[in-house]
Amino acid sequence: MALNYYQPLYEVIRDKDRCIKCQACARQCANEVHRYDGEYDVMISDSKSCVDCQRCVAICPTGALKIANNPNTFRENANWSSQIMTEVYKQAETGGVLLSAMGNPKEYPVYWDKILLNASQVTNPPIDPLREPMETKVFLGKKPKNVKFNKDGSVNTDLPPTLELSTPIMFSAMSYGSISKNAHESLARAATELGICYNTGEGGLHKDFYKYGPNTIVQVASGRFGVFRDYLDAGAAVEIKMGQGAKPGIGGHLPGAKILEDISRTRMIPMGTDAISPAPHHDIYSIEDLRQLVFSLKEATGYKKPIIVKIAAVHNVAAIASGIARSGADIIAIDGYRGGTGAAPTRIRDNVGIPIELALASVDQRLRDEGIRNEVSIVIAGSVRSSADVVKAIALGADAVYIGTAALLALGCHLCRSCQTGKCNWGIATQRPDLVKRLNPEIGYKRLVNLVHAWDHEIKEMMGGMGINSVEALRGNRLMLRGIGLTDTELEVLGIRHAGQ
Amino acid sequence: MNRYVIIGNSAAAIGAIQGIRSADTEGSITVITDEPYHTYSRPLISYWLEGKVADENMYYRDKNFYTDNNVEVLYSRRAEKIGKSHVTLDGGEKLPFDKLLAATGSKPFVPPMKGLDKVKNSFTFMTWDSVKAIKKKVKKHTKVLIVGAGLIGLKAAEALYHLDADITVVDLADRILPSILDEDAGRIMQKHIESKGTKFILGTSVEEFSEKSAKLTNGDSVDFDLLIVAVGVRPNTELISQAGGKVDKGIITDDTQLTTLKNVYAAGDCTVSHDCSSDTDRILALLPNAFMQGEVAGKNMAGVEAHYVNAIPMNAIGFYGLHIITAGSYDGEAFTEQDAEKEVYKKLVFKDGLLKGYILMGDVARAGIYTSMIKERIPLADVDVELLKTRPQMMMFGRARRLEKLGGITQE
């Protein structure tokens, strides 16, 4: 095409005084942005393929590279931004649906950042977590409302199955296929070392990872990929995926090109065929249908494993959650609109769903109002970015959180949001063997362990400051929260008071 | 306490001292040398002559070597006779031993040549003393005639080239370095040396010498100021043969370096080795070979069993800046690549499903990987032969060998 209607988003800036032409950037860029020209003995960069994944910047031994926004600008227009114009040009060129990855990047409000935590002063003194015991262990599942006794008078300890977590953090569902085997191994090993759980996503469980079963949540999604008895038996819990925060109402599509031998075996589909997850579960059109699947899975696993139902946070999430709690599920997982994905239509990702903070508050309140809060645990997902977000989520009513994007960041992801190309330079969202090996699980799992340890320390510090010594005591304790810069409606939904009140 | 006696003071002797001391720090070690020097490296004499190596860098081991290893050295003494349990020194002194090593090396071979006695400035090229004597006689444009275009003759030529001498090399053979190069490689090397101004007269020998001139068999005559005879070496085997030990081309030993005499070992250029690349017994007059034989001998002398196996002929040497590395035997099916312009030559020789030998000229990088294939007899079936032909590389081996060698992991 002779005319370039739009320009590269980024520009590679190379400091020639620092560049030693080692070509590490050229060897490491799967997008082939960098190239060495032997004839002129120079490094050449082709910015138009750059996705700003920062791999070259990170690997450059002399700090010679920077990726900057392309200073070229379309005429400023508050309505028609450069990005919107570029998207129109792209669609006019290709006629295709725009695809994106990772979470919604738009400038919607981040409610975590509009909520402040309390601390003790004078009365109810703070607790020093380095000197006093501080409990972050949680159990997810149904909680008995009252103590039951056996006929002989002894206490009935026959409780429904629960998930025990050393800290209220789990790794979100990310399928083998959407992320690499090494990424999965990193998550599995980290979860095992940390005493938490990771989630297989809908891609089945690789045979090498059955050994991490006690720390694995196995997912059953609309495509039912890789689901069979051993798979269900392997996990510590089974999750039914009804929806995903990044693309509520949308199914999934892993192109046949990515269904290589290992993935084909794990997903139990022929090599090279597209892995299509339908938008709905074709056997679920009501809460009653859901209940059938929940109990089918309970039956299949001998009532020994908690069943999780995961949904995307949508407008009437509270009513849906109420139905799920009544379906027999042990845990509800709610994924907010900022949740990540390996690929989603851009318009869906950026415009469908609601913030997890609001969804969580309304679900927790609804279940309390209906007296069924103890029937289920609530796990939230969809952009939990720090330990402060975790603490706020728990105070809003969550039992635990899923972290996906943060976990991937720990593994090297720089949120270039190009997972859908399969050319992840960090070895995460790719199946290309030369790229996959860039993520050494030995390094990856340690970084995940470090991250969660760090957050756990911080959670203890924040709880201690509030004079609270266990996550159980913090859960739903909205008095520990105050809003800032929020409208009355937002405060009402969140169930918190404004700062100063 | 064992009494060890070593005749000789070069690589094999040093290897023996290190071998003995790795097992026995108590026993007495006495070294007999007919030279007045601390152990020095013989291959360095040409570098010394050209001025590249200073006196203090001639030494093969640092100056504390003997004291650190508790070794007594008898300088400028000769062993005259080996008895059952003692060595007779010059002057009749008797030195008792429990274990003896003959590391007697070799001597230059000077064939009978008509009129050679008339040449006043005639030298061989073997010892530090021989090059010290040569150095005194060489000035710019000194006319030097070297008889012998083998390793020693050409190393001498190279040194004298750096001293700006006017050099002519005569050899009976029609090509240079026939012991290590094939014809093509020899031609490239010859051209290279000739380009530096050194003249060759090949396929010719000296018919008769006068004091400063040689009449050649082809009718020509060459004038010279200085003559170096470098036609070959002969092992010093007399002490062993006189004592009744078996000697063939050199001293015969088993693979522990024990001679046929009780308690008497031999190592180095004076011995016959088994060349595993050609499966023949021959003298391998090479410094690495001498050191390793000495080390094996030393260990056995000290009572620790050791065997010297997998010996092959091998040479790493350069002439006038052009390097060659060669190893093994050239009998077999050859794969060759050459770029005579760039002075690059490669020959790989295969036989019986093995790499048997090679010649690398110009580009010698990583040659040892080839050497290891020959020595360890790694079947070609176990390597990627196409990669092997491209260049020496670990990639040509299977994953298991790489894991073991590079990863320290041995798989069951």
């Binding site: 005084d17 590490a24 060897r27 860039r438 | 690495p288 990088a365 040659a367 020496p392 320290g408 992991i409």
Partner: protein
């Protein structure tokens, strides 16, 4: 003794080990200076690249080192298990190049004498630059 080991499963053929090695042994204070003005210091580690497999090779510091045993000058020696070369004593005969079964002896472009890995004992207190510089844990310093 701790030695450098490579794990070919994790080598990315980024060649950074070569650059970190060359810079550390160049005597220059940092990598930019080491390579400034078109200088190309030689690394003592070499990355071999295959279609799917890559790995770095450097001195294995053998227990029975053929290079040391064969050295004609005594320039190569073993101290505390580390094989190093006194470059002032090397005459560039390359007997060690002939002997090393891993091809780990490199030849200096300038001086023509040999260079080899000494686990950075001379320039970095035995903290090998290749290990520190490897971005993927493919080169480790370990006791095995």
């Amino acid at each position: 003794m701790k030695k450098v080991y490579v794990n070919e499963d994790w080598c990315l053929a980024c060649h950074l080990c070569e650059y970190y090695c060359a810079a550390a042994n160049s005597g220059a204070e940092n990598m930019i200076k080491a390579f400034s003005g078109g200088k190309k210091p030689i690394p003592r580690i070499k990355v071999e690249e295959g279609s799917a497999i890559n790995f770095a090779v450097q001195c294995r510091h053998c227990d029975e080192p053929a290079c040391v045993k064969g050295c004609i000058t005594g320039a190569l020696s073993v101290k505390d298990g580390v094989i190093s070369c006194d470059e002032s004593r090397c005459v560039g005969c390359y007997t060690c190049v002939l002997s090393c079964p891993y091809g780990c002896i490199v030849i200096s472009d300038e001086s023509k004498v040999i260079q080899k890995c000494d686990l950075c004992i001379k320039n970095n207190n035995g903290d090998p630059a290749c290990v520190k510089g490897c971005p993927n844990g493919a080169i480790v310093l370990e006791e095995r």
